[in-house]
């Protein structure tokens, strides 16, 4: 449907499918970052009766990746015209640069999913904190909507290296430099979720790591830790800081992990995460794709 630039590094890709299975915030899809259909019949039809497949120039130039790329869901809408899926991606490698440069409205893409397990909304926790860093913010948009529907009182925390790299629309003058939650981030404000923005360089909102912004909010609120559930996705140092803070304060915390993966379906065994258990060595490898990507924070063994 659309593929628009949100900031120098992030794009919002809106897809529409005639139908799509039910999805949860925290789940992901595997997207094929290459042309389909008329431009390249050899790739998707069984065997062209006319003759052998021909390689396209794009493939010869090596600009289209072979494997799919995983993207978390940033939102889903069921409309009379079909199911709309939002993916927000950051241009980091061959696949995402291809998406940014080539994909235009009307183009068909191959989507595999939904994959993985979503966040488990804690029925016993009336309050929620959503902590997203960089490209970990998109699944928080979807989760904010889910939590709003479940009647939870949520606050969202968004971290980025610098203001220009936030993958969401921010009303800059509404952001509190002191880290107080305000309705300053549009997709969250829509779900009645106020936001705190933190930037590492202090260019917008709270100056410092988003985990620090969350900690000072926690200290100011003085709420009962047993009433709060924390959901987080972002770079590992950030999630680790969030996890350790929650552990210290006795707060329930779920993390959405990111791993390089080939299949996303549990067969290639490549996307391993070390998870604490009662085996002699104290941990086992679990698969980010089918056992996760959402894990309980306290069970993750950090690298």
């Amino acid at each position: 449907m659309s593929n628009e630039r949100l900031c120098p590094e992030h794009y919002l890709l809106r897809l529409r499918a005639a139908e799509f299975p039910p999805t949860l915030a925290g789940q992901f899809v595997q997207l094929q970052c290459r042309r389909l259909g008329e431009q390249d019949p050899a790739r998707e039809v069984p065997w062209p009766a006319a003759g052998p497949p021909r390689l396209t120039q794009a493939e010869l130039a090596g600009r289209e990746p072979f494997l799919r790329r995983p993207f978390s869901l940033a939102g889903r809408r069921d409309t009379p015209a079909g199911v709309e899926l939002d993916l927000i991606y950051r241009t980091v490698g061959t696949g995402t640069h291809w998406l940014a440069e080539v994909v235009r409205p009307g183009q068909r893409l191959s989507v595999l999913g939904p994959l993985g397990n979503g966040f488990a909304v804690r029925a016993d926790k009336p309050r929620a904190a959503l902590i997203g860093g960089g490209v970990g913010i998109p699944p928080m948009i979807y989760l904010a909507e889910t939590l709003a529907r479940a009647g939870k009182q949520s606050v969202a925390f968004h971290g980025a290296r610098t203001a220009a790299l936030l993958p969401v629309a921010v009303a800059g003058d509404a952001v509190s430099p002191a880290g107080r939650p305000t309705p300053c981030v549009e997709p969250f404000a829509r779900a009645d979720v106020p936001s705190v923005v933190a930037t590492d360089d202090g260019s917008l909102g709270f100056a410092g790591m988003v985990s620090r912004a969350f900690e000072s909010w926690l200290d100011a609120e003085r709420l009962d830790p047993s009433s709060l559930a924390v959901y987080s996705c972002g770079p590992e140092p950030m999630m680790r800081a969030v996890a350790e803070l929650c552990l210290t304060r006795g707060i329930d915390c779920q993390l959405c992990m990111e791993r390089h993966m080939a299949c996303g379906m549990g067969t290639c065994q490549s996307c391993v995460v070390k998870i604490r258990d009662d085996t002699p060595q104290g941990w086992s490898f679990k698969l980010c794709c089918t056992d996760g990507p959402v894990f309980e924070a306290g069970r993750i063994v950090w690298a």
Binding site: F66, L67, L112, C268, F285
Partner: protein
């Protein structure tokens, strides 16, 4: 699908409805792909490597994409023999296909233990010997690259395989793959599968470090297909055809065109691996594409084109 086309083949007495199978390690134990493809459309199912004891596998990162392919260094992560028989065999029985179990180990005793345990499992029709990864207890020579070792291990496993046919999976990391193929035939192999992955590396030049946790990995995918086709052709003409031993060909198969190359080069069976990570349903479109090709060329059976390459 053209119903009058006969796609059935036979691998050392095991009848397959069509030549297509899964390549070991790319299809788990069949339940993982249940939502994405009907595996009953295949000729046979090849499991992930099974070892005597469970294996956790290597440190992350375990895969990296390279141009037209990928490197993997999973480290034979698997549930181990005991859990395989208890938990995975019932799933495979439900599939109703002949199953070939890929067997790996670090000592000959390990291989023998797994082979003996699978002798009486009905759904298992064959063992695929993975002698491309592990090291021998003494000396640390790779089983798969020393012809004498290859003959010895093949003979030992064959003697305990019982009803199961013995397929030996060959490593391409040798000077002459026909020589290793000959060694397995001398050891009594019923079939050959080739090729396994190429030992390879990818480097993060900024950090000056290998990308994979294991430093090296195995290269697979479309990038290796032309080499694999050549190796199948070489082994077919020099060893397999004269000895009457069938080949299961693999290495970068993604489309029917690719599968047909392997058939013409001399493969009786075909395994699809890395392409399943992108699209598990490609197995069915490859099968149908082969049938279309046969119809177009006036063939009634896929067996008419096995090794039908004309080089004169």
């Amino acid at each position: 699908m053209k119903s009058e086309i006969d796609l059935s083949v036979e691998i050392a007495g095991v009848k397959l409805a069509n030549p297509l199978m899964t390549a070991s390690g790319t299809c788990g134990y069949a339940d993982e792909y249940a939502d994405f493809v009907d595996l009953r459309q295949l000729g046979a199912f090849v499991t992930k490597s099974i070892t005597r004891q469970p294996r956790a596998g290597n440190e992350y990162p375990r895969v990296v994409e390279t141009r037209a392919g990928m490197l993997n260094a999973i480290g034979l992560a698997n549930v181990g023999l005991e859990r395989f028989v208890a938990e995975k065999v019932p799933l495979l029985e439900a599939l109703g296909l002949p199953v070939f179990v890929n067997v790996a180990g670090t000592t000959i005793d390990d291989y023998v233990a797994v082979a003996q345990a699978l002798r009486d499992v009905k759904i298992v029709r064959g063992l695929e010997l993975n002698i491309s990864c592990p090291n021998v207890k003494a000396g640390g020579i790779q089983f798969g690259v020393d012809p004498e070792q290859v003959t010895r291990i093949t003979r030992e496993i064959k003697s305990v395989a019982g009803k199961n046919i013995l397929i030996v999976k060959l490593s391409p990391n040798v000077t002459d793959i026909a020589q290793t193929a000959q060694a397995t035939v001398e050891g009594g192999a019923d079939a050959l599968s080739l090729i396994n992955t190429f030992t390879a590396m990818a480097i993060d030049v900024e950090k000056r470090r290998p990308i994979l946790g294991n430093v090296t990995g195995g290269l697979s995918g479309p990038a290796i297909r032309p080499v694999a086709v050549h190796m199948v052709h070489r082994v077919y003409t020099r060893v397999a055809k004269p000895a009457g031993v069938p080949i299961i060909g693999m290495g970068g198969i993604q489309y029917a065109h690719d599968a047909l190359e392997f058939l013409l080069a001399g493969a009786t069976g075909l395994a699809v691996g890395t392409a399943l990570f992108v699209n598990p349903a490609c197995l069915v479109s490859i099968r149908d594409g082969i049938a279309d090709y046969l119809a177009r060329h006036g063939c009634r059976s896929v067996r008419e084109i096995i090794g039908a390459l004309e080089t004169a």
